[in-house]
């Protein structure tokens, strides 16, 4: 495994937990993002994720570096899966270890927020009666700005 990676197969969270664990770690937070069946009353059958893989891995590593600068002593591993995923599958895992609890929680939340801002990964929801790429690119008025 790489500590910051895009994968095409099911995510084994234990690998990432083991990677961040060390003798100085007093806390480990592991966040997993899962495929959700219902979004705003619409039932999803499955999701299809795609990524600009080399840039996505680079951006994940940059997020890790940002976290280590903001919360000294944290150790980070992040993996995001692409391809088709079904309900309850793990799309993303973020493992953070820290000497103390608070930083582990805070840094982990920071990571998911930054992933949603800067990492080139896209999600398509496939419903019973249609499909759509998610992320704000829908239904812009002519010449309109973003959201």
């Amino acid at each position: 495994m790489k500590p910051f990676e895009i994968v095409e197969t099911p995510i084994d969270t234990q690998k990432y937990t083991d990677y961040v664990l060390h003798a100085g770690a007093g806390a480990v937070t592991v966040f997993t993002g899962h495929v959700r069946e219902w979004t705003h009353g619409v039932r999803t059958l499955y999701l299809a994720y795609e990524a600009y893989v080399p840039m996505a891995e680079k951006k994940l590593a940059e997020i890790g570096a940002e976290m280590e600068a903001k919360w000294p002593g944290v150790k980070v591993a992040i993996a995001h899966r692409i391809g088709e995923m079904h309900i309850s599958d793990i799309a993303v895992v973020i493992a953070v270890s820290s000497p103390h609890r608070k930083a582990a929680y805070e840094a982990n939340e920071y990571a998911i927020e930054r992933i949603k801002e800067v990492v080139p990964i896209w999600k398509k929801e496939i419903w019973e009666d249609g499909e759509e790429w998610i992320g704000g690119q829908r239904k812009y008025p002519e010449g309109g700005g973003q959201q």
Partner: protein, 77 residues
């Protein structure tokens, strides 16, 4: 030649994942104008451009040999 990559909605719109443009140099802004003209509905105002895997500004200059990617709003996580 400038290489461009398409993803997600833009890949479906362009009908391809990548292509090359026969240009020696152009600005990011010019590249977006080209894309909008070539693929109506591209939505250039909502699309970022990465040059050699780094987000670029509208006035940045792309040179022959660079690898560009159109980045529609991301939705990972």
């Amino acid at each position: 030649m400038i290489t461009v990559h398409y993803f997600a909605r833009l890949r479906e719109l362009a009908g391809k994942a990548e292509e090359t443009i026969d240009q020696k140099s152009m600005t990011v802004s010019e590249l977006l104008d080209w894309a909008e003209e070539t693929y109506p509905g591209f939505g250039k105002d909502t699309v970022h451009v990465a040059v050699n895997e780094e987000y670029a500004l509208k006035e940045d200059v792309i040179q022959s040999g660079d690898v560009c990617a159109f980045i529609p709003p991301v939705s990972g996580g």
